[in-house]
């Protein structure tokens, strides 16, 4: 006769994971959650100063979406090109609200989250 003490549980832990009943344990992060995290990060980053300008992002070899590209080529100051345009984009709304959003824009993070 033994008490179920530390040793019993340590023995259990060695052989088990408490996720065994979770059918979704291999599931990926829901796309709408990725979208929310991305939006919140951009929002926080914007609060402490401008984002990297679209020109800089493009120069670093990262693709811009069609709207960002349109802003990038406009003859306006870099400060304007550092605004958080995703904040006013419909793709953000769809990406955050829907579990499967039909967004097809190339180089749009929200579209990428929903594709992956």
């Amino acid at each position: 006769m033994f008490e179920w003490g530390d040793d019993t549980f340590k023995s259990l832990v060695k052989r088990t994971e408490p996720t065994a009943l979770d059918k979704d344990k291999e599931a990926k992060t829901p796309a709408h959650l990725k979208a929310k995290i991305y939006s919140r990060l951009l929002s926080i980053q914007s609060e402490t100063g401008p984002l990297a300008s679209l020109t800089a992002t493009s120069t670093n070899g990262r693709g811009l979406c069609v709207f960002e590209e349109a802003v990038r080529i406009l003859p306006i100051g870099e400060q304007v090109k550092s605004l958080n345009f995703c904040k006013v984009c419909h793709a953000r709304l769809l990406g955050e609200k829907l579990s499967k959003a039909l967004i097809y824009w190339k180089n749009c993070p929200y579209a990428d989250f929903h594709r992956s």
Binding site: F2, F9, L12, P18, L21, K25, L33, I44, L51, A52
Partner: protein, 179 residues
């Protein structure tokens, strides 16, 4: 893009790097947090978001001594432990505490050949426990947190944590026999 480059781009507030950061690491964080909140996973989304917000706030202190993946999971682990701590800080249930230890035959885990079945039994038993008992057992054994640490983080005495764990183990044992 390597970890260092990604962190530099993030600190430069590059929006596409931010998207890559989320896309690359959210699955690992999500999977871990969810596994530690099972079966009540309703707080998973909130905790995962908190992990990334904290990561952003602390990114300047990332020294690449470990991978970004490991660093993020360490933050996730803290968040999960904060969650356990909050649960354990709640007033103890009013149910009578039977001081009799859970005396039973030592379970022969080796007799259960299928590790998957054993894990399923553990998960079922954990799922049937109160949230506080489950958090106590997960924190102590699956997160390997010492009783002293648990006591310090919850502002309780070690004796109180030991008592809570004893109750949780007893409840687990009773559940185990019925699963």
């Amino acid at each position: 893009m390597g970890d260092r480059e990604l962190v530099d781009a993030l600190l430069g507030k590059d929006r596409k790097a931010t998207a890559e950061f989320v896309g690359r690491y959210s699955d690992a964080v999500y999977s871990y947090v969810r596994s530690r909140l099972i079966p009540h996973t309703d707080r998973t989304d909130d905790l995962v978001q908190e992990v990334f917000m904290t990561a952003w706030q602390q990114l300047g202190s990332f020294r690449a001594e470990s991978s970004l993946h490991t660093w993020l999971l360490a933050i996730a682990r803290h968040k999960v432990q904060d969650h356990y701590r909050a649960l354990l800080r709640q007033p103890a249930s009013l149910e009578e505490w039977d001081e009799t230890p859970a005396l039973i035959s030592m379970p022969q885990f080796d007799d259960i050949l299928d590790a998957q079945r054993l894990s399923a039994k553990v998960a079922l038993t954990l799922a049937a426990l109160s949230e506080q008992y489950r958090a106590a057992l997960l924190w102590r054994y699956w997160e390997n947190c010492s009783v002293r640490d648990m006591a310090q983080r919850t502002n309780k005495t070690e004796k109180a944590i030991e008592r809570l764990l004893a109750r949780a183990r007893k409840a687990f044992k009773e559940g185990w026999d019925h699963v």
